[in-house]
């Protein structure tokens, strides 16, 4: 198993990729996943986070097999 990390919209374009796969780490949170997946950049201030397709805070725990997504403010409708 592993952690799937997904990026959308302008964030995906800026990072130049839509997805990363990480091995599960000890005591992972969404913010820790960002730090490991995108070491080249601080987590943006206005970023939205979803863990397993539900909105979550940066300190939300992340386990092996989880999907963590980072994306900019939404603009649908």
């Amino acid at each position: 198993m592993s952690i799937t990390v997904r990026y959308f919209a302008s964030l995906r374009e800026q990072l130049g990729r839509g997805e990363d796969r990480l091995d599960a780490g000890d005591a992972d949170t969404a913010a820790a996943v960002w730090a490991r997946a995108v070491p080249e950049r601080d987590m943006p201030e206005r970023v939205l986070i979803a863990v397993n397709q539900e909105y979550a805070e940066p300190d939300h725990p992340v386990r092996d097999g989880d999907e963590v997504a980072f994306f900019p403010p939404v603009t649908g409708g």
């Binding site: 302008s10 979803a50 397709q53 539900e54 997504a69 994306f71 603009t75 649908g76 409708g77």
Partner: protein, 144 residues
């Protein structure tokens, strides 16, 4: 209850009429519908086309959760949300929210609630192609 994503253009009025055929006649006295349509201008610029990115899986779950919230808050007979994804041209519908209920207050309030929640939280992102050849991500939704 129906939530759907559409990669191709749809006719919102046909969608609503078709869905309504499945709602028990005589039970609902009020139907409120909102349709968002792509304009050819935004923030002072001419817009030629748009691409709507979304988060497959989460988007549907989130829209269904919004409908569930509305049904907890108001007594509703039925709800429908349909949303375009992918490449969109000016004049094409982007989103439909529709609510059927016994009374008009519920229908109006729930229909507006669905739209506001969708705008603020559903994982969709717009990229505009401008008339001058450039493209830009829409950063912020208009207040409603």
């Amino acid at each position: 209850m129906s939530v759907s994503l559409h990669p191709k253009p749809f006719d919102p009025w046909t969608l609503v009429a078709t869905h309504q055929a499945g709602v028990a006649a005589g039970r609902f006295g009020a139907t409120a519908v909102f349709v968002g349509t792509m304009r050819d201008f935004n923030e002072g610029d001419d817009v030629r086309a748009m691409t709507l990115e979304h988060y497959p899986g989460m988007t549907e779950k989130h829209l269904e959760a919004i409908v569930a919230q509305a049904r907890e808050r108001w007594t509703l007979e039925d709800c429908l949300i349909a949303h375009r994804v992918g490449a969109i041209e000016p004049g094409e519908p982007i989103v439909v929210t529709a609510v059927w209920s016994a009374h008009r207050r519920e229908a109006f309030e729930a229909c507006r609630f669905l739209m506001e929640e969708l705008k603020h939280r559903a994982p969709f992102w717009k990229r505009e192609a401008l008339a001058d050849g450039g493209t830009r991500w829409v950063e912020k939704n208009t207040e409603g």
